[in-house]
Every structure is written in structure tokens, then in C-alpha cells.
């Protein structure tokens, strides 16, 4: 790992200032992706700004929304009884990210800012129509993701919280890579205030995407049968040693069907 200067500011304004002052500065959230990236020398920041003391943790549940602080760990989301009562699908998803040790450190804000094409949280944010709150604005999920490992966040812009509207029903189903357990294909289905929405992670070359054909079918008939025969074109899907684009296209149908069945 290349060396860097380390800062741990105690408020959001100081963190934003430190990140804005140097284009080579990087924010450190839970570090469960970023530290491995640094170890591989794939990134060479001059300054690392640790976000752990900004007070961005915690989960708030109201009658209509679950709001999760940007630095809240996957473990804390997975073990929140209040969040589970409101959006069980989201809480189940958090409990399937990585392993216990990764969940103890990894954060929702870090995961979303990184926008890994196989991340789990991206699908929930998109399917539930969440709003990403930053130090300077609110960004609707439909406008947040901008391709693999890319978002509309500006240099130094920090995710302070994510607000999820509570759906009538929702569920996440993922086909896990058997060794590393990331989503080879993950499908989040939701029926709620924003209508029926289906988001697919792990499969798209451009990262997470909404599945219009499945949304239309489920809007007309919310049942596993409604998505059973919907074919997903493999053209824009990933092919790698773990699975071809055609295989992933097939998995999208299987995962969607199971997710709708589990959502009830």
C-alpha cells in the first residue's frame, strides 16, 4: 500500500472541506472494499478522510420511511428490529452482504458511493425508490447511479443518510458467488408507494438497473407466474468465468420469481 496522510474530522463540514481541498483525497467509510483496493495499489490517495466520527450512524423508522445514516453498518441494519418490522426485505438483504466480519465494518454509504456492479444495497435503493441524502442535496435513486463504480456524487460530496419509503411488500433474492458470496445476480422486487419496481444487481454491464418488462407484468399481476416467462435479453449483461451473459439472464428470471414468491 502507498502511504497517505490520515485525518479523522469530527463534523461533516470539516470532512467535506478536507475532501474538497485536495482532488487526490479520498473518504474512508467502512473500508471493506477501499482498504483491499489500496492494498492492491489500485488507488493512490494523498489524504484519507475517515468518516467514522461524523455522527452519521443510526436508523430512524417513521410510519412512512426508514432512514439509515450513511455510516451505519450492515450488521446494525441486519439486527434492527424496528427496520425489520418496516422493511423486512431490506433487513434480510443487509444480513446477506459479505460475512459477519465485513458486516461489522461495512457501511451503506460506502457501498452506495462505490456502486460495485455486484453490490446488494444498490438494488434495494433502486427498487424501493430511496432518496440519497448528502451534505448538500437529496438525490432520487433513479438519478444516483451512473454506471459501473460511478455515481453522480461530486468530489468530496458525502452520503449522510438514505431514506427508504416503506413498501407494502418487498423482497431480495440473490444467487451468491459460491466462493466470495457477492451477488452474481440479485433481484429486489417491491410494491409500494412508488408502484411496482424491480431492480437487478450483479448482472448488468452498467451496474444496477430496473427491469421494465417485469415491472409491467407484476403491476398487472403480482405473482411469481407473472415473471416466470419473461425473458431478459443477454446483450447488456456481464460474462465472466463465473457465468455467461445468457446464464445471468436466466438467473434474473429465477431470482425474480423466487423474490416475488417470498415477498408474498
Amino acid at each position: 500500500m502507498y502511504d497517505f496522510a490520515y485525518q479523522k474530522p469530527s463534523n461533516v463540514a470539516d470532512a467535506v472541506k478536507a475532501l474538497g481541498a485536495d482532488p487526490e483525497a479520498k473518504a474512508l467509510a467502512g473500508g471493506q472494499t477501499f482498504i483491499p483496493v489500496l492494498k492492491q495499489r489500485l488507488n493512490k490517495p494523498t489524504v484519507i478522510v475517515d468518516l467514522s466520527k461524523l455522527g452519521l450512524t443510526g436508523i430512524t423508522v417513521t410510519a412512512t420511511a426508514v432512514t439509515i445514516g450513511g455510516m451505519t453498518t450492515h450488521w446494525d441494519v441486519a439486527h434492527s428490529e424496528a427496520a425489520r418490522k418496516a422493511i423486512p426485505g431490506l433487513v434480510d438483504l443487509a444480513g446477506q452482504i459479505g460475512d459477519n466480519q465485513v458486516r461489522h465494518r461495512g457501511t451503506i454509504g460506502g457501498s452506495l458511493a462505490n456502486n460495485d456492479p455486484s453490490a446488494c444495497y444498490t438494488s434495494a435503493v433502486l427498487a424501493l425508490g430511496a432518496t440519497i441524502k448528502t451534505d448538500r442535496r437529496s438525490i432520487p435513486a433513479d438519478e444516483f447511479f451512473a454506471g459501473m463504480f460511478t455515481t453522480v456524487l461530486e468530489q468530496g460530496e458525502l452520503i449522510t443518510a438514505v431514506e427508504f419509503p416503506i413498501p407494502e411488500k418487498s423482497h431480495y433474492m440473490k444467487f451468491r458467488n459460491p466462493a466470495s458470496r457477492y451477488a452474481m445476480v440479485g433481484v429486489y422486487v417491491a410494491k409500494g408507494p412508488k408502484g411496482v419496481r424491480v431492480a437487478v444487481t450483479g448482472a448488468g454491464q452498467g451496474g444496477v438497473f430496473r427491469h421494465a418488462a417485469m415491472e409491467a407484468a407484476l403491476s398487472a399481476n403480482w405473482s411469481p407466474d407473472a415473471v416466470a416467462n419473461i425473458k431478459t435479453p443477454p446483450d447488456d449483461l456481464n460474462s465472466d468465468i463465473h457465468g455467461s451473459a445468457e446464464y445471468r439472464a436466466h438467473l434474473i428470471g429465477v431470482m425474480a420469481k423466487r423474490a416475488v414468491a417470498a415477498a408474498g
Binding site: F4, K8, S52, D99, N100, S180
Partner: protein
């Protein structure tokens, strides 16, 4: 050079580190606690698992500076001063839950966290899923699962363990 102050196995230390120094490097190279192993160095194998403020984490995927003010427990901090092993260590020995032993420190630290976070009881399925972050290259998982199941009642004060098979 930056400094980090933390408490490891009950002993407070202040150590000079670089920004890039990993927690596992601090433990092994600065504090001489080589019981915590580096297996893959890519956050996958779990040989480096320690407890930070009560939660199991991969010490190869945390900067030393992130542990400022933290309470850290490593494998060296489990046994009592008179050498009496922690119940999890005792059950690993009783059930022969190790072959080469390289993954064992991380396995034991993860296992203790797993048992502590399941106060109502733990199933074999929960143990196996709970070990997803720990790899044993000898593939000795079966006895590790047995050892953890046997340690649960001792750690929760429920009953005397059954003898090993």
C-alpha cells in the same frame, strides 16, 4: 509519524504507525502478538480476525489508526492468567477442531463472537453460515462446528458439555 493509542488484551499502548499501517501489522510487528495470522491478506480468509470493541473484524482490513481508543482482544487475550483456556479454546482442543492450526486463531475469535451474539441458542446451520468469513484450508470444518456447538452451553452457563466423540 502519527500515533495510535489503544488497549490490546487489557494493556494500553501508544504506538507510532504510518497512515497505511494495518491493524494486523500493528498487532504482529509493533506489539509482537503473532497469534493473529495473515492468511490471504485480501479480506477473505479470516485468519486475522480479532475483536474490536466487542465485534469480530478482519484486522487486515482495518487501518491501525482506525483503532484509536479501541478495546482490542486477540487470541493471546483469551486464556486466564493462570493459563486456563477460554471455553472455546478448550472445546477446539476437546473436539480436535484443528489440523494445521493456521486458521485457528481467527476461527476461535469468530466463533466466540458467534456464540455471544446468539444468546437464545445456535443451530448447526447458523454456525456454518456464521463461519462464512473464515476459511480452513485443511477443510476441517466438521469438528470446528462441533466445537462451537459444544462451547455454546458453557459460555452461556447452561449445562456441562457432552464428552467428545
Amino acid at each position: 509519524m502519527p500515533q495510535v493509542s489503544l488497549t490490546v488484551n487489557g494493556k494500553t499502548s501508544t504506538v507510532e504507525v504510518e497512515g497505511r499501517t494495518l491493524l494486523v501489522e500493528l498487532l504482529r510487528e509493533k506489539l509482537g502478538l503473532t497469534g493473529t495470522h495473515v492468511g490471504c491478506d485480501t479480506s477473505q480468509c479470516g485468519a486475522c480476525v480479532v475483536h474490536v470493541n466487542g465485534a469480530s473484524v478482519k484486522a487486515c482490513t482495518m487501518l491501525a489508526l482506525q483503532a484509536e481508543g479501541a478495546q482490542v482482544i486477540t487470541i493471546e487475550g483469551l486464556a486466564a492468567a493462570d493459563g486456563t483456556l477460554h471455553p472455546m479454546q478448550e472445546m477446539f482442543r476437546e473436539h480436535h477442531a484443528l489440523q494445521c492450526g493456521f486458521c485457528t486463531p481467527g476461527m476461535v475469535m469468530s466463533a466466540i463472537d458467534l456464540v455471544q451474539t446468539h444468546p437464545q441458542g445456535i443451530t448447526e446451520d447458523e454456525i456454518r453460515h456464521g463461519l462464512e468469513g473464515n476459511l480452513c484450508r485443511c477443510t476441517g470444518y466438521h469438528n470446528i462446528v462441533k466445537a462451537i456447538a459444544a462451547a455454546w452451553p458453557i459460555m452461556h452457563g447452561k449445562q456441562v458439555p457432552l464428552a467428545a466423540e
